[in-house]
Structure formats: structure tokens, C-alpha cells
């Protein structure tokens, strides 16, 4: 936060300039905000326009008549209910399991170091940073051979595998910073390794776990490439596949198209607005060391 001490010291004359600057800055930010929001606005308006209205009126103008039927049409055509349930199942299964597996591994790598554990950490983390497209073709064949193609259960496995490395990286940082005295004291009391994990380390990492839960939930919900490769039946589709399907099949039904897009982002928006802090606490996204 910028300090205001200098201006108080130097009196009235110095105070005038920061106010103008600040006001101008605020206006500039507001303009930027408006420009930033135009896509949302256009989408919302178009989603309520009947096709003829969409063709006739400018996109940034509200509809002459709010054609709510677009939403029902889009939900039906795009099988929104089914795909939403699919996405929810996948996310609710994958995220908790992923966190559990990642915490255990991070714990082991940071609190139970052995020869090569740092190399192992490095190898694991590398995996989180390569584009998933590199592995898509063999992944398809592998899931096919396992009989898990076109199933939500089959989707969860690669999701876990690709999501865990990053979580291990973050949690490793957390666990590493836990004071060794805590652990030593617990061991003196006869605590087993598991107890140290469960009773000491995990509770201390709860803020990180909470934020990771939210971030991972959204990332899972939004994933496209792996889902598109592994899910063939439309009844198994997740939301991103449905959005792309709708966009290619009904590209000229502008009203329902925009309605579908909006409906597809509403769950993520709700999560975002409720848990904003977890997203914008940037220390997370980049693992910045403090």
C-alpha cells in the first residue's frame, strides 16, 4: 500500500497532484474494465435475442424482447443436464482423491527424505509442465487396452496423473517449511509417521489444501483435450466438449449458442465469486517463495 506520510509532511500544495493522478488512474482503470467486460455483455445480450433480433440489432444493445426460450432450447439441444452431471462427478471424484494422493507423496518427499528423493521430486514436477497433447495418442491406446475408453472412470485416472505433480510441488514447499522441532517433539511422544502426517503436517497445510481444492476443481471442470480424446459418446461428454460441440453444430443459432456458453460458465463463476481469495492469492499460482 502506498504511504501517504510524505504528502502530509509537505502540506497542502503537494496533496493536489496525487489526487488528479489518482482520479485519472481510476478513470483509466474504469475504461479498461468496461472494455474488458464487453465480451460478457455482448454474450448476455445475444443470448436473450431471437435469431431475427440478433441479426437486426447491434450486439451491444439489449434485446428488444427477452427471448428466454433460448436457454431452454440450448439446454435441451446441448444436453446440458447430462454433461453437467458428468463434469460434476468427475470433479468431485478426482479432486479429493488427487489431493489425498498428492499430500501423501509431498509429505514423504519432504519429511522422509531418502537418497534420490529430490531427483524423484524433480522428475515428478517436470511432468506437470509438459503439454498434455504430447501424450494423447498413446494415452488413447492405453485406455483402450485397459477397457476404460469412453468412461468417466477412465477419464479420472489421467486427470489424477497430470494434476498431482503440480500439487506435490506446492505442498512440498509447505511441508518443507514445517519446523523440525514439531516433528521431533511428536516423535519423542511416540507418534508414528502416519500420525505426524495426519495430525501435524496436514492441518498446517489446510489453507493450501483449501486453495488447491478450489483451483483443481475449476481446472478439472475446464479440461478439454484429454476429455475430447477419451470420451466418445455424447452421453459421457463433459461441459467443455458440449460447448465445442454446440459451437460447431449450431454456429448460426446465435441466441441459443450464447445461452449455452453462459450456462456452461455459471458454475465456475459461482465458485470463483465465492472463493475469490483462493484464486487471486497469487502466491499460489506461481509458488513464489516468501
Amino acid at each position: 500500500m502506498s504511504s501517504s506520510i510524505p504528502s502530509v509532511r509537505s502540506g497542502v500544495r503537494r496533496r493536489a497532484r496525487p489526487d488528479w493522478f489518482r482520479a485519472g488512474l481510476w478513470v483509466a482503470l474504469l475504461l479498461a474494465l468496461i472494455v474488458w467486460s464487453i465480451p460478457f455483455l455482448v454474450m448476455v445480450f445475444t443470448s436473450f435475442k431471437a435469431n431475427a433480433d440478433a441479426a437486426a440489432s447491434a450486439p451491444w444493445l439489449p434485446p428488444s424482447e427477452w427471448h428466454v426460450a433460448n436457454y431452454a432450447d440450448a439446454a435441451r439441444t446441448g444436453r446440458l443436464a447430462t454433461t453437467a452431471v458428468n463434469s460434476l462427478i468427475v470433479a468431485l471424484v478426482k479432486v479429493p482423491i488427487g489431493l489425498a494422493v498428492a499430500s501423501a507423496a509431498a509429505f514423504a518427499l519432504s519429511r522422509l527424505p531418502f537418497r534420490g528423493s529430490r531427483v524423484l521430486l524433480a522428475v515428478i514436477v517436470v511432468g506437470s509442465m509438459v503439454p498434455v497433447q504430447i501424450a494423447l495418442s498413446p494415452l488413447f491406446t492405453e485406455m483402450l487396452n485397459l477397457g476404460l475408453l469412453n468412461s468417466l472412470a477412465g477419464l479420472v485416472l489421467p486427470y489424477l496423473a497430470f494434476g498431482i505433480p503440480y500439487q506435490i510441488f506446492i505442498l512440498h514447499g509447505f511441508f518443507s517449511a514445517i519446523p523440525v522441532e514439531l516433528e521431533e517433539a511428536a516423535r519423542l511422544d511416540g507418534a508414528s509417521t502416519f500420525r505426524i502426517f495426519w495430525r501435524i503436517c496436514l492441518p498446517l497445510a489446510v489453507p493450501a489444501l483449501g486453495a488447491l481444492f478450489i483451483l483443481d476443481f475449476v481446472a478439472t471442470w475446464n479440461e478439454y483435450a484429454i476429455a475430447q480424446t477419451l470420451l466418445q459418446s455424447q452421453s459421457n461428454w463433459t461441459i467443455p466438449l458440449a460447448v465445442q460441440g454446440f459451437s460447431t453444430q449450431y454456429s448460426t443459432n446465435f441466441g441459443p449458442l450464447n445461452a449455452f456458453i453462459i450456462m456452461s460458465v455459471v458454475p465456475v463463476l459461482i465458485v470463483y465469486l465465492l472463493f475469490q481469495r483462493s484464486f487471486v492469492s497469487g502466491a499460489f499460482a506461481g509458488a513464489v517463495k516468501s
Binding site: 479429493p96 475408453l149 468417466l152 479420472v156 455424447q234 460447431t248 448460426t252
Partner: protein, 418 residues
């Protein structure tokens, strides 16, 4: 918080197992047929759903699960499921060697000869239709439509440009296009994002410039695109069309977008097939204001292809699939749906519909035709088709000179996996 995680996880796992059990059961039980096809138009979907409903009514306990995709997504999906157990039981596809042929090679189509014998299908379909089925040895697929493509035109716009008669030679067609430009009308609409829409014009240009024999040789690989001079001429003509006669911004548009121009009377011509008869009516045009003429290639061959319904070789419900196919191609069902997907049914006992005056225009095209030439993407392999489309678009944007296009294509064909 941890206990909450665990509780959520357990509940979710139970839920997941339960629900995935449900959906798996739904798709795998003996009484559900999974049917993949392309996205149906507003008038086509109710007809298809009605057929399905009547089939289900006639076979209690049986459900047909219909899945639609955009044309390109449909192709991608089927190519992906070849050799897996997760494909559909029945699917719609185009019969050409570059499309269905690849799927037959990949083991995605069951040989239906035993069903042909059982249901006497050899007697049901026209010989032209059956030719497309037997071209791979045995019987692959059941004919769904015989499609032909030609030029639809807006009579009012033609009159406005002072065009009195339909063009019968390529030069007349060019003269007509020029007349339309002079009258301030977009001569033809094409959608560039779906490469096969522009491809239709190029196919006809190759046919025109090269003649039937050479064109066939080029697409079947026995002639070289680098050696034939007519290839350069074809690409030069394509560039002319792109520069002078296409709708503005065609490269950004899908065929759905560009067709809007035809429907609204902003473009005079469109290269489409018999399915378009119904589409124009759906989109508010008066069929009496439209005409159709064959692209004046001068060869006597008709631009066309077949579409069929195939049975997945990996399907465990082939008998049920065959029953379904027998049902939907049967005379009563076909009579009720004639004109929905094509002007003529593949079922030889079904006469052309009389509802749409455009349907009647196709008959002479079929009877007078001296053979058929397929769209390029039905003759060329998937990989070559991708390159064919890239070159076609690159010629249009000026990135590749027409004189170089043939050589580039041939180089690619020579290097591609066989």
C-alpha cells in the same frame, strides 16, 4: 476439513461407481442400438426421430440412441473409434474410398452379405446404389441416399443480371458470373472454414479442365498432378473464382454462414446436393424461384456420391442393427420420408416426392448421366485430403501460385504413407 475431504471423496466414489454403472449399462445392454449421424436439419430431425420411434414401437424394449455431430466432428469421431469397443452400432457415412473405404480398411464396417441374403436387399436397391456397397468386396453398408451435386441458382437474381438461359458450357457459366458481378450480385456463396465446400467447385473445375479420364486417373493415383497441364488450368480457374465471384469474407465463414447469403437472396448460386431441396424451403425460400443446372463440365458425368448406413464390425448387436436397417430402408418408411435427405430414395420402389418442385429437376440429371465423379475427399486418403485442402486454400489466398500447386500436391502424395 480433512474428514470432509474423505467424506466427499467416499460419497463421490460411490456416486461415480453407481452412475457410471448406469451409463455403461445403458449403452451396453442388448436392447440399445447406438446410432451416430451428422447433425440433422430442422426438417430432417423430426422425420428421423419418427422413423426411430416407429422402429421402437414395432420392437418393444428396444431403444435407438441417436447421436449427432457436425460433419467434421463426425468423421473425426468415427476414425478415432476404429478398432475399439466404444464405437456406435450403426453409423451414417459417405461411401467413397477416402472415407468409408478407410473405415472398411480399419475394420469398422461389418460385411453384411448374410443380411443381404436374409432380407433380399439386393432386390430392394437400385444397381447404382448397390455399386457403392459392393465396391470393397462383400457388402458394406446399406444404401441411404444417392446424392448428386449441381448448381442451385436464384432465378430472380439471374433475371436481374439479364441471364436468360442456364449455362451449358463452362464459358457460358463464366459469362453469367460476370453478368452477375456487373449487376451488383454476389455470383456464388461458399464457406471456407469447412474446406469441402470450396472443394466441390475445385472438383468440378478439374473435371472440366482435365476431362473424365484424366480426372479419374488423378484422383486414383495413376496420373501425376505435377505432369498434367490441366491441373494448373484448374487451379487458375479456382483463383479466378476466388478473386471475382466468391462472397466477401468467405474464408472466415462456415457453409452454414455462407448459405444464409443464398437464403436471403444475397448470393445467386450455390453448389449443393439434393438434400438442399429441403433446406432451402426450411429457410424460407420459394422453391419455384430456384433452378438447378449441372455444372457444365462438358464430360457428361454427374457429380455425386453415395451415403450409406454402416454396421460397426465391433458391434455385438449386429442382428438388431440389421433389423433396424431393414426397417428404415423399407418401402413404407421410405415412402413417408422421401425428399427429406435426397430427392430420390435408394429404394427403387419409392418414387420421387412431389411436394418439392426441385426434386423433379434431378431425375433427368440421374438418367442422362454418363457416370459419376466423386468429391475429392471421398477418393483421397485422410492425410492427402488435408494437404489437398491446404493447397486449395493457399491458391485462393495467393500463397501458392496455380502453376506450383499440382507439383506440391504430387510431392506430398509421393511422400505420404501408403
Amino acid at each position: 476439513m480433512l474428514r470432509k475431504f474423505l467424506a466427499t471423496a467416499t460419497a463421490a466414489v460411490v456416486l461415480a461407481v453407481g452412475l457410471s454403472g448406469c451409463s455403461a449399462a445403458g449403452a451396453n445392454d442388448d436392447k440399445t442400438l447406438v446410432f451416430w449421424t451428422v447433425t440433422q436439419g430442422d426438417e430432417q430431425l423430426p422425420v428421423l426421430e419418427d422413423m426411430i420411434q416407429r422402429f421402437e414401437d414395432a420392437h418393444p424394449g428396444v431403444t435407438v440412441d441417436l447421436e449427432q455431430r457436425s460433419i467434421d466432428a463426425h468423421k473425426d469421431a468415427l476414425r478415432q473409434v476404429a478398432g475399439t469397443g466404444v464405437g456406435p452400432d450403426v453409423y451414417f457415412y459417405w461411401e467413397g474410398s477416402g472415407l468409408a473405404g478407410e473405415l472398411v480398411d480399419a475394420g469398422l464396417s461389418a460385411d453384411l452379405t448374410s443380411y443381404y441374403n436374409k432380407y433380399d436387399w439386393d432386390d430392394r436397391f437400385t444397381s447404382a446404389a448397390l455399386a457403392g456397397i459392393t465396391q470393397y468386396g462383400g457388402h458394406h453398408g446399406v444404401p441411404w441416399t444417392r446424392q448428386a451435386m449441381a448448381v442451385y441458382y436464384n432465378k430472380t437474381l439471374f433475371k436481374k443480371a439479364g441471364i436468360a438461359t442456364e449455362p451449358t458450357t463452362y464459358d457460358e457459366l463464366i459469362a453469367d458470373a460476370d453478368a452477375l458481378v456487373d449487376a451488383g450480385v454476389t455470383p456464388i456463396e461458399v464457406g471456407g472454414t469447412v474446406n469441402w465446400h470450396i472443394m466441390r467447385l475445385l472438383d468440378s473445375l478439374v473435371e472440366t479442365e482435365c476431362g473424365a479420364t484424366t480426372a479419374t486417373a488423378l484422383f486414383s493415383g495413376s496420373a501425376s498432378w505435377a505432369d498434367e497441364t490441366c491441373v494448373t488450368a484448374s487451379y487458375e480457374q479456382l483463383k479466378t473464382w476466388g478473386d471475382k465471384y466468391f462472397n466477401d469474407g468467405y474464408l472466415s465463414m462456415s457453409n452454414d454462414d455462407s448459405s444464409l447469403l443464398f437464403f436471403s437472396g444475397d448470393a445467386a448460386m450455390a453448389i449443393e446436393g439434393t438434400w438442399f431441396d429441403g433446406t432451402v424451403v426450411e429457410n424460407g425460400m420459394d422453391p419455384n424461384e430456384l433452378g438447378i443446372f449441372r455444372f457444365p463440365t462438358g464430360t457428361g458425368r454427374l457429380s455425386g456420391f453415395g451415403e450409406a448406413l454402416y454396421v460397426n464390425d465391433a458391434s455385438t448387436k449386429k442382428d438388431l442393427a440389421a433389423t433396424f436397417l431393414d426397417f428404415v430402408t423399407s418401402t413404407p418408411i421410405q415412402k413417408d420420408s422421401v425428399g427429406t435427405w435426397a430427392s430420390l430414395s435408394a429404394n427403387k420402389e419409392v418414387a420421387a416426392g412431389t411436394d418439392n418442385p426441385l426434386d423433379a429437376l434431378w431425375e433427368p440429371f440421374f438418367t442422362e448421366a454418363d457416370g459419376v465423379y466423386n468429391p475429392a475427399d471421398q477418393s483421397l486418403s485422410g492425410e492427402v485430403t488435408t494437404e489437398y485442402w491446404r493447397i486449395q486454400n493457399a491458391v485462393l489466398t495467393g500463397e501458392i501460385a496455380p502453376a506450383d500447386a499440382g507439383a506440391q500436391l504430387q510431392t506430398f502424395i509421393d511422400g505420404s504413407a501408403k
